[in-house]
């Protein structure tokens, strides 16, 4: 029988399929469609210290092969997530989640992470580096190895749970950032966030999105995110979670062969809310097709 189990920092997941932050709400929206307990896990909507309304409209633009979006971390703030969302989730979801942490300063990241660290429902703290550093010029924390390392280090100091750092994709040298995060204490990496992009409205001659640029997600991103995972795998020894463009069971196998220990499914959930279940259901047959008994044996096999 096919063994789908994978292990992330000592946490054994039933399968490597994790629904991405920002595409899965707090999990409950999908309970009409399938039992969400079949997931490996899922990642909560990115959470900041204060509630945030998010970016001006329009926030999404359809593209030929995907969607460009700029939500702006809309969330109710850490207090409401801890006191309302997590207790509600407990009634439907027995497993632990990834807690996606955002901030506009290093201190905010550490503070939000330390609150999530108190919850037994949280398995892994996921640090989203694709937030602007408001105090220091507004550049994304994920765009610079030194800044990425500083956030990682401060969050590590603030928590006892494993810290996985979600890297930004629009950078010149992702490997140097991956290495910097590992050296700063990251227990794992999530690679990668959506790719920065823009669409122009031909009628108005202006950008479609209210924030001009947004993050592009698409099955067409798979070769690019997979390449980044492949490169990082050779440079770091912590587990990598592969993401951005994963939308079939075969994509999961490819991503794992490139070096991922698990995968995240993102915007595919928005198009097809049943996608995670379909992928999990399809994995055993695909594994058999390619002579795989246990998923953990293929991690990094392409190297």
């Amino acid at each position: 029988m096919a063994n789908l189990k994978v292990t992330l920092s000592g946490w054994e997941l039933d399968n490597p399929v994790i629904a991405s932050s920002g595409t899965y709400g707090y999990g409950l929206l999908f309970t009409d469609i399938y039992d969400v307990n079949i997931l490996g896990s899922f990642s909560l909507k990115g959470t900041t210290y204060e509630p945030r309304f998010g970016n001006p409209q329009p926030r999404s633009a359809e593209c030929e092969y995907g969607v460009l979006s700029s939500i702006g971390l809309q969330n109710p703030g850490i207090d409401a997530v801890m006191s309302e969302e997590l207790p509600k989730l407990r009634r439907h979801y027995r497993k632990r989640v990834f807690a996606n942490v955002c901030g506009s300063s290093v201190e905010e990241y550490a503070c939000v992470a330390s609150r999530f660290d108190e919850s037994e429902q949280v398995g892994i703290i996921e640090v989203n580096l694709s937030c602007p550093n408001v105090k220091e010029g507004g550049m994304n924390f994920g765009s610079d190895p030194a800044m990425a390392a500083r956030v990682t280090g401060e969050v590590k100091k603030a928590v006892s749970k494993p810290v996985y750092v979600k890297l930004s994709s629009g950078v010149t040298d992702i490997v140097s950032i991956a290495v910097a995060c590992e050296q700063a204490g990251a227990d794992g990496l999530c690679m990668v966030n959506t790719m920065p992009g823009i669409r122009i409205d031909l009628r108005t001659r202006k950008p479609v999105l209210g924030t001009k640029t947004g993050g592009y997600s698409s099955p067409a991103m798979l070769p690019i995110s997979e390449r980044m995972v492949f490169q990082a795998y050779e440079a770091v020894s912590v587990p990598i979670i592969g993401m951005c463009g994963v939308s079939t069971a075969r994509d999961v196998l490819e991503m794992m062969m490139a070096g991922a220990s698990a995968v995240q499914i993102g915007s595919a959930n928005l198009l097809n809310p049943r996608i995670c279940k379909e992928i999990i259901d399809a994995l055993p047959a695909e594994m058999e097709e390619y002579g795989i008994n246990s998923l953990s044996e293929i991690i990094g096999s392409a190297h």
């Binding site: 009409d32 409209q57 939500i71 809309q74 809310p273």
Partner: protein
């Protein structure tokens, strides 16, 4: 919410630039008039949200405007085609607040969900009236259907080619009502709000990512905090709406 395969029973022009589509399949997730469905189309990444005009135990009637490439593609689909559709989306209209004499105000294809609402109100023994506004006679839709329900119904067109010349807000003056139900383009919603004499419910359109509340693409500000048009709406009570300046 249900995600299922629905078979096209009918897909025909209903007015200039508007098609009527009847889908067969599981309608058990639909619980109120004014809800919508979200349709996956081959070759298009995001689904197309379309409000439900009417439904019964085995079919859903949609009226949709040809607004872009997606709906153009949809209009070319033939009888018997199967579509992946999410049904039972959004809150829909709350008929319990209508009082005995609600007024339904629709603009263009926004009249579609008001038809199912009108039937629901009639079945509850209420006496709804309807005002429907269109640009011109060729774009008018559902007028015969409303008349056939026996409802007092008024039609306005901007060019006077059918009914009264003018806007829905002109025709509203002639009707006494206990409550309002409004669906149409945003400028019309706002104009109706400006002359409204009672409480009411307004149905909003939005650019949606998922249609079921996950992506936060269609969030808007209300007097009671931020809400998702797809999940907390598309129908909002007049007293909670913050009109965009």
């Amino acid at each position: 919410m249900i995600q299922g395969l629905y078979r096209i029973r009918e897909n025909i022009p209903a007015a200039q630039g508007v098609y009527k589509m009847v889908l067969e399949g599981d309608t058990s997730a639909i619980c109120a008039p004014g809800q919508f469905v979200n349709i996956r189309l081959d070759g298009f990444y995001t689904r197309r949200p379309i409000s439900v005009c009417d439904y019964d135990s085995e079919s859903i009637t949609l009226m949709y405007k040809l607004a872009g490439e997606g709906t153009q593609y949809m209009s070319r689909l033939g009888r018997g085609c199967e579509l992946d559709v999410l049904t039972g989306l959004g809150n829909g209209f709350d008929t319990s607040k209508s009082g005995p004499r609600p007024l339904l105000v629709g603009g263009g294809v926004g009249s579609a969900p008001l038809y199912g609402l009108c039937r629901a109100l009639l079945s509850q023994g209420k006496r709804p009236a309807a005002v429907m506004g269109f640009k011109r006679a060729g774009e008018a839709m559902l007028t015969e259907e409303f008349f056939a329900l026996g409802t007092e119904a008024y039609v306005t067109t901007e060019d006077g080619s059918m009914g009264e010349k003018g806007f829905v807000t002109d025709a509203m003056k002639a009707v006494e009502y206990t409550y309002l139900y409004v669906c149409g383009p945003s400028a019309m919603l706002r104009a109706v709000d400006a002359v409204a004499l009672t409480d009411g419910q307004f149905s909003f359109e939005a650019r949606m990512g998922c249609g079921f509340g996950a992506c936060m693409s269609c969030s808007c500000k209300t007097r009671f905090g931020s809400k998702r048009i797809c999940k907390d709406g598309p129908v909002f009570e007049r007293k909670e709406i913050l009109w965009q300046t």
